[in-house]
Structure formats: structure tokens, C-alpha cells
Amino acid sequence: MNEIDNKWIGKNTIRPDGADKVTGRAEYAADTIMPGMIWGRVLRSPHPHATIKSINTKKAEELDGVFSVATSADCVDFPVDTPVLLGIQDIRWMARNVLAKEKVLFHGHPIAAVAARTEEIAEKACELIEVDYDIHPWAIEIDDAIKPDAPILHDFIKFDGKPSNIAGTLEHKKGNVEEGFKEADIIIEKEFETAAVHQGYLETHACLVSVSPDDRTTIWSSSQGQFMVRAMTSFITGIPQSSIRAIPAEIGGGFGGKTIVYLEPVATILSKKSGRPVKMVMTREEVMRASGPTSGSKSKVKIGAKNDGKITAAQGTFYLQAGAFPGAPIRGAAGCCLAPYDIPNAHTFGYDVVSNRSKVAAYRAPGAPIGAYAVECVLDEVAEQLKMCPLEFRLKNAAKEGTKAVHGPTYPLMGYVETLEACLSHPHYKAPLKKLQGRGYASGFWFNAGGESSAQVNITEDGNVVVTTGHPDIGGSRASIANITAELLGIDVNRVSVLIGDTATIGFSNLTGGSRVLFASALVVTESTNQVIDILKDRASKIWKIDKEAIEWENGQARPAGDNAGNFKPLSLAELADQATPTGGPIGAGHQVNTVGAEGGFATHICDVEVDIELGIARVIRYTAAQDVGKAIHPAYVEGQLQGGVVQGIGWALNEEYIYNKEGKLDNPGFLDYRIPVCSDLPMIDTILVEVPNPKHPQGVRGVGEVPIVPPLSAIANAIYNAIGTRFYSLPMSPPKVLEKISD
């Protein structure tokens, strides 16, 4: 194999796990089996809000074929008034979400679970469980939850000293908004609403758990973090982390929704009680009713600007649904919404509102699309009044290196301005439009994350490379890691195999989320690989009997660093691996660290729509997404992140919504009525990868996965206005709503 002149960073290599995924060999959680395996099913609440007076599982236990039954009585007891924090999650809530304790808080809330010989028997046994409820009035929408006489979900949550469904608040402040608005020549203030939407990962939650009589537990599950699964299962079941081995199955999409557990602790209890491996797989309906979604919202945004286009002040108030337990992503809404702009005076507020809906889970840039939707729509109106091009208006107010953001930090080098300029010079910007077609623009920001990451790089006896990291690969991260390792070692990428370790085989790594994975794992893989190169030089120095400092590593070979070093024939990786034993033993290195320096990501999108005013259908006919991606290690998968995020945003804007009926139950728990974008709805999604390398990363990586879902909601709303002159302040802009508004 030619080891000279390989350059892999920036190349669209074939992903290491690709062959398995195009042949059906890849093992997702629902594909796993074990000898003696039995099946678990969950009994769910038929009421949106009730106190559980008693649960009688006797009849279910007696049914032939039933092995075990679980309720919250089998879980560790976490007093409701004492926080138990694990990262951003509170285990008090997590435990009660996994199996309801004092109360059921939404229709579909798990109450008990049964493991039986078949799914059918488990299902039948669930029906035999008798639950005595004291049914309460419920609140689904934000307005119903925050009105003075609203039914209270959690008595001990207080706001302004009184029991309340407002579970938390957050604010960001800069300058003095009152003064800022006084300076403004025009001020626009508008109110907005968005519906709750689901992440819509196609793979439903699934796991297989086997617990031995000494509590040693193996979990195969689909999640965004095997270490998160281990920790949460340990908390809820009381089995120590050292006894739990969580093995990450391939994951069929998560988008944030698989950053918490639903089934794993339940299956663990069922397995422990039955002595049999237990498999649990959610149906699509269960996924829709009881996992995810992200918040619906209500917000109000006010922006003031001078006639010259300078923004003088901005204010935003965001109420976000948390579902049954506290934890709405208010930080994403209130923190990201003004981040692209240099605004002297600003004030944003977020309110975390509980109501009788399923507990929200993270969804791609949690909260940020909601905040950006309101702000970017108002900016469009301000630009229109000022008779400025919306992109020029944004350019005039754009944040740059050195700008102090409303949410706190002072920006280092970053490429927001470049995304605006890229859009201004893209042919899409000037392309002609026909009647009933319109063009809209919007920008967006996401924090991006670093956090704990571990890696191990081992040289095989035949001189190839195995890299192990600890973050589940959702969208091709293994391919990027292979590119980086091959580049550093100077070898062909096909000689690098990349694996995701389980909790027993690799050090702690934070979950796949926050757009952290490539940023963090590239850091630890780079450090590990550099250590391996150092070892390889050391081995060559032993063979040649010269100083290690006199050796350099180039194109997959150790070679003397100069004429003075001596005249030796270079030693390849394979030759050094062959000599590993006599020169000191196995060659490999690992690194684990809490990574820092993940800098934020910015994007600007252009969207064209065409509105069918007879049917009320707004159709996206052209889309261009420009984003500062830092450095694209594998450009095709970076483009894929942009395209996938944009299309989820299109679904959010145009069709997707949780619809509750009068009984407080979700009316559309399947893909027929909860309509995610399909292939024929869409055009190609053009991408512009702006590369302003992150100065705090060896390869310049910035997270790329989340920003792309931030601008589409408002880009589409602005485009529809441009097409038909009607502004929409409520999502989704679905055909019935569009028709109603046009006919007004």
C-alpha cells in the first residue's frame, strides 16, 4: 500500500460502519437476542392527571407465562423535594417518568411493566393490573397551566411564593433596554406560538437487559450515551455502576431524544426479578405519547432600531412547555435568540412551564429554534420598515470576534459575518421569483459543547490501527475519526478501524449531544495518536540505537530526522508493529479529559417557497444553508447534518404538531397524522460550508449538528410573507391554518 502523500482530512471517505448498514447486518437495539429472552411491556396511564391510590398486580402475576412485574415500588425512592442532579437531568423526575409514583401526569405515563414469554402475554397481563385513580383536572396548553386557578401538577413547586406550574425562570441582560428603546426610531413588538414537535427518530426506543443473580447487569440499548444509560439505570435500580455494563447498539436516530432513559431501568428490574434476559421495544405510538417531544411555546419579542439600521434594543420573553416534569429548554430559547447580533441593550426571559404532557426531551439545539423563530421574524419586519435588505440589515448588526454576547461570553474568532456574505454572493440570492413565490432569510446560533471524552488508539500486530471512542455514532462520526487518525499517522484510511466502546471497555465519555462528539473525540483521538507516534519513534530509536529526538514520523514511517541522525532505511508502521515485542511490548495509547474550547456555531439560510392559495400548501422550492463549520473533516457528512437539520426545521415550520383532544390525550400518535417531511415534499438542500477554524481545536472543528435546525422556522415564515404578504405568528403553517388566514 502506498503510504506516501495520503491526505484524509476533508475527504469523503467511506464510513467504517457503512457496509453493515447497507446490508442489514448492523445491529440496532431491537435486533439483539439472548437465549432464554422474555418480553416486557408497559402499562400506561389512561388519564392525563390523577393520583395513584393503589396498584394491584396480583392477577397479572398469576397469568400463565408471566415472569415478573415492576412498579415504582421496585425503584430507589427519591423524595420529591430533594434534587438529585445528573448533568442537566434530575433523577427525581427521571425515576418518576420511568415509572409513575404518587401521580400520573400525562396520558401514556408508565405505571407498571410486565415481563412474559411473549409480547402478547405481557400485553394481556398489563390489562389485568388494577389501578385505583383519583382523577384531577388537567392543563395541556401553557395558558391553561399558568392561569390563576390552574390545576397544579407538583404541589411543592412555588412561583411568587404560591404553588405554580412555573417551575423555573432564566434571564439574560445586557445594557439598559428602556434607554435602548428610547433611542430607537422604530420599534416592533410581536407575539408568537409554536406547537410541540417530536424528534421523530425512526428507531423506536428498545433495549435488552440481562441481570445475573449477583446483580451483574448487561444492557444493550439504543441511546445517545451508554454512560448515561449506566448512570441513570444505576440511580433508579440501586445497582452500582461497576456492576452495569451498558453496550451501545447502533442507534437509529436520536436528535436529543435518546439522551435520557425510558426502558432500561424497567427492563433491569424485570430481569432481576425474573432471572431472565428481558427485551423491550416501544411501539411508534408509545414513542409519540411518552417520549420526547420538544416544547411548544409562546413568546413575545420587541426590537427597536435606528433609521440607519442599527439595532438599539431587544427584548424577548419565552414560555416553554416542559411537559410533566420541570426542564424545558429555556436556556436555548432565551440564550441563543440574540446571539448572532451585536446589540447594546437586551433583556431575555425564559419560563419553564409544566403541564399534563409527556416530559420534553432534548431536540437538536433545544429551545434555540423557538427563540430564533420569534426574533428572526421580528427582524424581518424591522428590515422591511427600514426598507433594508434583510441580509444587509443582519450584516450591519452582526456579532464578530470581540462582541460581547447577550448570553454572556465575548466571542473569539468566528464566522457569522462570512455566512451572511456567502449568502449575499450566492446565485440563490438574486434568482428570479414567480408569482406566489417568496424568499425568506434567517440566521441562527447554537452554543456547541465539549465535555468528557475518552479514546484509545491501538496498533495491531500487523501494523494497522484500531481506535475506540466512547460516543455513540449517530451520523458518521466514525468516518471523521478515521480521517483524522489516518492523517496524523500518515496511512491509508482503510487501515484504521473505529469502534464505539461500551462502558466496560472505554473511559467515561459524555453522551452524543450538544454537537460535541467530533469536537471532543477528535481532541482525545489526536492526543492518543500523537502519543502513539511518540512510542513509534521510541521503538525506532531502540532499533537504530539513536536518540528519539533524531527521528521524525512522516507518511506512516519513522525516518532519521536529518543527515546527522544517521543513514537508516525508514521503518514503516507495519515493520515497527512487527518488532513491538522485542522493542518494549504492545503499542497503544489512550487519553481522557474534560474537553473545553467548543465554540459556538452560526448559520444563515435562504429559503424560497411557493404557496398554493387554493389548498393552503406552502412548499419549499429552493433552500440554501450557509454555516460556519470550523473545519469539515468529512464534508459529505457535514453537509448531511445541514440538510437533515434544515428538513427537520421545514417539518416543524409547515406540518408537525402535537394535537391534543378534549380528554387531554394526544390525537395524532403516528406518522400518518403526525406528518414529517417526505422525499416528494422537498427540493435538494444546497449547502455552503464556511470554514473559520475553531482556534481552540487541533483540527479547527466546531460542532455542526444543531445550528441547521435553528433558522428554518423563521426563514420559511419570512418567505411565505414575501410570497403572499401574510405574516404567520403561529406554527405550524399547515394547510388549514394557511387557508384560514388567507381567507380572512
Binding site: T23, Q648, G670, C679
Partner: protein
């Protein structure tokens, strides 16, 4: 309830199984025959992840009863690579990064293959409508459409 005995052909191989009258082909493939390449995502005919062909016709295996497959010819994702070689679509999907999580991929490939068997020169619109029953939440479909176009082109060149 007495189980039904069924004899059918799967990816060219004679196969016999016992099933309940209410079992779907998808149930039997995944649970009883351990052929888990075909994916279950909605169980209601709305996502296409369970796509297979039955006597050459593209169907959702979650909507076909296993008992109906007597004497039929079933093709699944497991039969797509032949003699250890990728089908052209499998190759172009990899080359075009047309998968992220990959859960939709088996169904997408089976559906796309069935399109290209009928039409080796589909327009972008024809591809988009043919695949409209196959959901993908990760890719935004862009690279999937391009991978199908590339496969069609290769098939035409090699025809």
C-alpha cells in the same frame, strides 16, 4: 390457537416456518427467522422501513400477513448483495453518504432497487415520488436522491 405452517422462498432459499394467523411477514422475519435487516419503525405502513418485495412487488412487510406468503418469492435487504458483492445501490449509498443513522437504509435500498428495475432513467421527481413512502429523518433525502441517480447512471452505463 394452532399455528399455520408456511412454505415460501426468501432470497432464493426455500424456507418453512410456523406462524400465528395474525403474525405479519415482518414479525416472522425479525422474530422467528432472525432476519433483522428489515426494520420495524411504525408497524402501520407509514414509513417504508420494512420494505421487501413479494413476487417482485414492493410491499410493506408490516402490512402483509405471514400466512399470505405461501409459495411466494420474498426478497429482503439480506439478499441484496450477491456473492459477497454490493448491489450498485449499496455502493452508491456509501459513496454519496446517503445514510446517517442507517435505520431507514434497508427499506430505502429495497424500494430504490424496485424503482430501478422498472426504470433505469428516472427523473428527480420520479425518484422523490417513488420514495415518498420511505421516511428518513436524518438526511433530508438530498443525498439519497443523488445516490439513486448515481446508481441509475451506472446501471445505464453497464447495460
Amino acid at each position: 390457537m394452532a399455528k399455520i405452517q408456511v412454505k415460501t422462498k426468501i432470497n432464493g432459499e426455500e424456507t418453512e416456518f410456523l406462524c400465528q394467523p395474525y403474525d405479519t411477514v415482518l414479525d416472522v422475519l425479525r422474530r422467528d427467522l432472525n432476519m433483522t435487516g428489515t426494520k420495524e419503525v411504525c408497524s402501520s405502513g407509514d414509513c417504508g422501513a420494512c420494505s421487501i418485495t413479494m413476487d417482485g412487488r414492493l410491499v410493506c412487510s408490516c402490512l402483509v400477513l405471514a400466512a399470505e406468503t405461501e409459495d411466494k418469492n420474498i426478497e429482503t435487504i439480506e439478499g441484496m448483495a450477491k456473492n459477497g458483492k454490493f448491489n450498485v445501490l449499496q455502493k452508491t449509498f456509501l459513496e454519496h453518504a446517503a445514510l446517517q443513522c442507517g435505520i431507514c437504509t434497508p427499506g430505502m435500498l429495497v424500494a430504490a432497487k424496485s424503482l430501478l428495475e422498472k426504470n433505469t432513467n428516472p427523473t428527480e421527481t420520479e425518484i422523490r415520488y417513488w420514495l415518498a413512502g420511505n421516511l428518513c429523518r436524518c438526511t433530508g433525502y438530498d443525498k439519497i436522491v443523488k445516490a439513486v441517480q448515481a446508481a441509475a447512471e451506472e446501471m445505464r452505463e453497464n447495460a
